[in-house]
């Protein structure tokens, strides 16, 4: 059985705990044991904290990486933002001796040292490269009969010089993993567009951020999908909580269910929407919950 540390970040454990729980369940089913990364903090968020002060961003991000180094395992995240911070910080410190020395001076004060011995992994690229689409397909007991709009998000694939995940204009690995569950990945307009949350925009210019989310929701709805599937709790929050804010500010109502890939996979493995926390979204869509309850039923 493979082992990885599970870096939780902020939004999964503190706003969408169903994503945290679903990830532990599905990885165990796939033979990947996730170890608690005790005492980890915010990644910290790449757009804002890196904007404020690069050394603080690198020191806090590398502290999280070091906790996993000390356990001797690679680190897994289910969030694009955390992936952005941790991959970029990990690679930067592996390559830049000066910055590594600066950061290690700070880490020494709290009893740690960055050694550059592990990899930072995102669940989607880990499933695709290390577990494999075939094995994911074999784990499905109940094909997930849904039409899905795949939302890659930004920091999963960009900047590509730190990622090496193939085409950033027409990526396919996420779609292949979605289709492995039995769902159909439907093409929709501006599929690879940003949700609008990142870079501190949701925090400082909410109305503008929501215009980007609204466009995503409009395009997914026009394609006739049952739900949007993402792999980032921040995109998840922006498109889910964002719908309640869009309704208030602009009057548009979408009732679009937002599902994290871990939760989609859990459905195909036979877990209920309640066990996976899919019913805990801020947007309540009873028809969708009733539909996915029929997929596998409780174990």
């Amino acid at each position: 059985m493979s082992e990885l540390s599970f870096f939780l970040g902020c939004i999964a454990p503190n706003r969408y705990p169903g994503i945290e729980k679903a990830t532990k369940i599905v990885m165990e089913e796939l033979g990947v044991h996730l170890l608690e990364l005790k005492g980890a903090s915010c990644c910290p968020a790449p757009g804002v904290f890196r904007s404020f002060d690069k050394l603080t961003w690198l020191a806090l991000a590398s502290r999280n990486v070091v906790l996993s180094e000390e356990m001797g395992v690679d680190l897994l995240t289910v969030c694009n933002g955390c992936f952005g911070s941790l991959v970029d910080a990990n690679n930067t410190l592996k390559e830049d001796e000066q910055l590594r020395s600066d950061v290690n001076k700070v880490l020494a004060e709290v009893g740690h040292e960055f050694k550059g011995t592990i990899r930072v992994r995102h669940i989607m690229e880990y499933l695709y490269d290390d577990v494999g689409v075939e094995k994911v397909k074999e784990s499905i007991k109940y094909p997930v009969d849904l039409k899905v709009a795949v939302h890659y998000g930004c920091h999963l694939i960009k900047p590509s010089k730190e990622r090496h995940l193939g085409s950033i204009e027409n990526p396919t690995f996420f779609d292949e993993l979605v289709e492995a569950t039995g769902a159909e990945s439907v093409m929709y307009k501006d599929k690879n567009a940003c949700c609008g949350a990142g870079g501190g925009v949701r925090t400082s210019a909410l109305e503008t951020a929501l215009k980007l989310a609204r466009a995503k929701l409009e395009h997914a709805k026009a394609a006739g999908v049952d739900c949007i599937v993402d792999a980032c709790p921040f995109c998840h929050l922006q498109m889910d909580v964002g719908q309640t804010e869009i309704a208030k500010k602009f009057g548009d109502v979408f009732n679009m269910p937002i599902v994290h890939y871990s939760q989609l996979l859990g459905l195909g493995m036979g877990y209920t929407p309640q066990e996976l926390g899919i019913d805990m979204n801020y947007v309540k869509n009873d028809d969708f919950i009733a539909k996915i309850e029929k997929i596998g039923g409780g174990k």
Binding site: L8, C10, I11, P13, N14, R15, P17, G18, E20, K21, E36, K38, G39, A40, S41, C42, P44, P46, G47, V48, F49, R50, S51, F52, D53, K54, T56, A59, L60, R63, G84, D96, V106, L107, E109, V110, G111, C154, H155, K158, P159, I168, D190, A193, C194, G196, A197, G198, G199, G200, V201, T203, S204, A205, T208, A209, L212, A215, G277, M280
Partner: protein, 175 residues
């Protein structure tokens, strides 16, 4: 019509500092193809946001205009422009460098200051709340995640780091 910028007003030292960001020296290779702005998702929804203009201003050394620019904080860091730039200019990295210079000059948006203080205090930009403690319990999970929330010694490490880097002072409330 506003006054033309005088070359004597341009701040070459500012430009030089921007160019210290790794890869930023490519900024001078920009031949104004406009691809960055034409493909920008933010610009589609907020036409006043123009990353090409911001980066050209940086190249000219228009320090004060840039650090106080009302749209400096509109980039969501989606990196599309950086990926597409035919000249290899790391647009987003450069923009983040300019933002850092703004923050270190004392220019910071109120909501960013709040989230920075929240992270410095709790170790999370988005900390747990009662509603989500309930959700966790309902899912059969511990009320607190296995993060700094559940380990006071780990939180103390975060506090110490932000004191050493003076991030606490940088982001403290202005008098």
């Amino acid at each position: 019509m506003s006054d033309t910028i005088k070359t004597s007003d341009l701040d070459k030292a500012f430009r030089d500092e921007v160019l210290t960001e790794p890869g930023a020296e490519k900024l001078i290779l920009c031949f104004n193809c406009t691809g960055c702005t034409a493909g920008c998702t933010m610009a589609e929804h907020e036409p006043n946001y123009n990353i090409r203009q911001l980066l050209r201003m940086a190249n000219l050394g228009m320090r004060d205009e840039l650090l106080n620019h009302p749209y400096l904080w509109n980039c969501t860091t989606c990196y599309k422009c950086q990926e597409r730039c035919p000249q290899g200019v790391p647009n987003v990295d450069i923009l983040l460098k300019i933002r850092t210079m703004a923050v270190h000059s004392g220019i910071m948006l109120d909501n960013h200051r709040k989230v920075a203080q929240l992270m410095a205090k709790t170790g999370h930009a988005v900390p747990i709340n009662d509603d989500n403690k309930e959700k966790r319990k309902k899912l059969g999970m511990n009320e607190l995640p296995e993060t700094v929330h559940n380990y006071p010694d780990a939180l103390e490490e975060v506090h110490k780091i932000v004191r050493i880097t003076e991030f606490d002072k940088l982001t403290e409330a202005q008098s």
